[in-house]
Symmetry: C2
Subunit: 488 residues, 2 copies
């Protein structure tokens, strides 16, 4: 466990590294990210081996997750060469500006400083030491102190060593990235005056407690927390009639992948009233090939058991597929009716983090948007429908409550792209305007600064008239696309 004193030293070193490196060119920073990607790739076998021991997840999944993390670093390395994250905006002096003469004013995003990142248990690569939060904070130009999740400490420490070495080889200043462990370090991280933002992925209870601390600081700081989500799926009558078996098959796969320990697990599915015996048998059949493995930690196992028991024990909830109490639990599918949900909508708020899901049977003709209106904030919401169906009402209601909408798909699997949005209203996240996945995640760790009436020679390069970095900028209100090749 890292002590408060040690954590303070690492944060201070991170701040010094940030001061040294905050103004390096995108090319230099991009090389650091590329170096880190290569460093992780080179040690993939060792890392995947450690991850298998720490997490009980299978090798294929872990290799895929590491590949994703490496890809993400390279995508961000390319993104910052384009200078997108800088948001460079140039307004030249204008004596005829409508409200009175306008001075020359130019805006640029700058990195905010040291970022504290809390890794999640369930993605030991993608949302951990060198996951999306760390990658986006480093891409932004920040320094990172990463709190390793207790669930994969050996892997976390080793990943930290590899990243530290790779950054050093690539020429980054010592201290730009470091890791800490334990509760004392976690609290120090959230409260340290030199820490300017927090990235967090984890439970609603844990995340909210840290959010409250961040908000209560003498200087409150942004807390980008990704917390809980049920990820409802709505199946229309037409879709159910057309392709029920196919939907059930994919559903069974999606809610059990990674033992249901995905923040995007479909924990809730609305379908027209069905024959419980028949659907139960179909799901049982689909789940026959499922290989249960122990959950990520005994704490998660215990929490899953409690949440499942609570939903399962609720009046009006029945069992379609019975799981068990094993350390590596078999999947459970519960069911209830639309009437029960209307009477006790709080059933929609109980996340069962593990291999369990709840099917709500609605009466044919029911307005699905009315159920959507009962939902809390979600990371995702999904509809299954047939061509030609008008789902405007439902989609609009779901849009108001989630960060990503899917059509005839499944929410597990979150690609890293320019358009990705992994976020949503509380309790899905504590910052609904932000995403923790995709290139837009970089923007969380930046802050705009305007330069007014600066002499040409004193402007930072992204704001100079001749645009030496060749980035896309908005000039006097018009976008000027980047030169094809970044020149920095």
């Amino acid at each position: 466990m890292t002590t408060q004193h040690e954590t303070d030293q690492l944060i201070t070193a991170a701040h010094a590294a940030f001061e040294l490196s905050k103004d390096v060119t995108p090319r230099v920073r991009s090389d650091w990210l590329e170096g880190t990607a290569a460093g992780l790739e080179a040690e993939a076998d060792e890392l995947v081996g450690l991850a298998m021991q720490d997490t009980h997840l299978d090798e294929g999944r872990l290799r895929g997750e590491l590949k994703r993390s490496v890809f993400q670093l390279r995508l961000f390395a390319q993104e910052i060469l384009r200078g997108e994250h800088l948001g460079a905006t140039v307004d030249h002096e204008d004596p005829d500006w409508g409200m009175g003469p306008r001075p020359d004013i130019r805006r640029l995003n700058i990195p905010i400083g040291v970022v504290g990142v809390f890794g999640a248990s369930n993605f030991p690569f993608a949302f951990s030491v060198m996951g999306g939060d760390t990658a986006s904070a480093l891409a932004a130009g920040c320094a990172v102190v990463h709190k390793i999740h207790d669930g994969h400490r050996a892997l976390g420490l080793r990943t930290g060593e590899i990243v530290t070495r790779a950054l050093k080889s690539a020429g980054a200043p010592a201290g730009l990235f470091s890791t800490v462990t334990g509760r004392e370090a976690a609290e120090t991280l959230v409260e340290h005056p030199l820490v300017k933002a927090i990235g967090f992925t984890g439970s609603t209870a844990g995340g909210r407690a840290l959010f409250d601390r961040a908000a209560a600081r003498p200087e409150p700081i942004p807390f980008y927390g990704e917390l809980g989500s049920i990820n409802p799926v709505f199946v229309t009558e037409q879709a159910w009639n057309q392709r029920r078996d196919q939907i059930l098959s994919a559903y069974a796969g999606s809610f059990t992948v990674g033992m249901g320990q995905f923040c995007t697990k479909p924990g809730l599915l609305f379908a027209p009233a069905f024959d419980a015996e028949e659907v139960g048998a179909l799901l049982q059949h689909e789940l026959r090939s499922h290989q249960s493995s122990p959950m990520l930690s005994s704490r998660l196992r215990e929490g899953f058991g409690q949440a499942l028991a609570s939903v399962q024990g609720s009046e009006g909830v029945g069992v379609l597929v019975a799981g068990d109490d094993a350390e590596a639990p078999q999947p459970t599918v519960l069911t209830t009716t639309g009437d029960v949900i209307r009477q006790r909508p709080e059933l929609l708020e109980q996340e069962m983090f593990g291999p369990a899901t709840l099917m709500v049977q609605y009466e044919p003709g029911t307005r699905l948007a009315d159920f959507a209106a009962l939902l809390e904030g979600q990371l995702t919401a999904t509809v299954h429908a047939e061509p030609g169906e008008d789902l405007t009402d439902l989609v609009t209601a779901l849009r108001a409550r989630s960060g990503r909408l899917l059509w005839n798909g499944w929410p597990t699997g979150v690609t890293v792209t320019y358009a990705q949005q992994h976020g949503g209203p509380y309790p899905a996240t504590t910052a609904p305007g932000m995403t923790s996945v995709g290139t837009a995640a970089i923007g969380r760790f930046l802050r705009p600064v305007a330069y007014q009436s600066f002499p040409a020679a004193q402007l930072p390069p992204p704001l100079m008239d001749d645009n030496p970095w060749g980035i896309t900028r908005r000039v006097d209100g018009q976008w000027v696309p980047a030169a094809r090749e970044a020149r920095s």
Copy 2:
């Protein structure tokens, strides 16, 4: 005073209006903003007259401020036609995407819902009922319930009536905008579940109290508060030697404009050690034409007196220009030395909201960046220097602590443009990544949503392949500029 019950009704009506209007085209919404601008313009004489009674500010200043507010509405009306605020991003399906096949995924910003806006006392138009926060929230597509500042209630109520009528004439749904007064309404606004963000301009103490409430809600909401700022000015030795008198003249004008009741008032100026008698006489001379008027409220007058007395009574602080205790106080200029500041940097944290400022005399050869490092977060920071001087250290230190940097200018006067940044680290604001002035302010009241694998016909217009609204979008990583004329 609006009761809790009345406030609840207005918020509920605002939510209903939001639901009705959240998906109108930019053209329709733009027309609402244009209609509001025209409505205010048509009643300018009456509004300025009311404002003069309520605030003691002079007619010229108030007419300029109203012109600014009207211009701002029209600029935002144009901005949303371009669709900038939508952040439309399209990633087509890509089977060869580096981390594995990428589904079609498209992101769009949507309005967040009802916004509570708290008007400031010191700008009865620009930061009040139809000021920057309201204008940007309406431009974003949100509904607004505005808490009128007690300091100009008659003006606020009348402005509210004019805006409500103008919006109605333009075709906006009833309830989209309304006003409330009093403390009970203020608290209801911050705590109401249907309110999804707060815009606030005011004191650090008042803003922090409301921020704490917003953060402590069951569903915490973004609180965009613009609080306190001292707005330091650094004059280099060369600049002082070259143009001391000119600097003092402009300084005297800047710190007394609006009776010093500007959030961007230069409350602090660092200059090389000088002859106090000579500089005091020069300032006295520059201030001879200053016409004091009563401050905005007796509460502000009292607070100003206390803050001034506290700084003035500090050991090592002297008086260059003596003000007085009048209801309409004469300007005060205090002075101290770099040594005193180094020993008691907390002197840099005392905002004197009114016509007073503190000049810090530094020893020739002093590293100015060391003083900058002692500052809290600021809205602005200014340097006065001569051509050829290298101020990289100082500018870098100021950049880390402020939202806008000025070169050889004065911070009062905040133009509304694309590149403007009116924000900064705490306590300047509670959301350092945001601006409350300029077109970028609209983004505060939006939230991204991604659409994954949606059929073409089910996509919202900004994300359709044929880009029917003709807006600037990022497509597969590349920016595609808007059609020259928005087609919506």
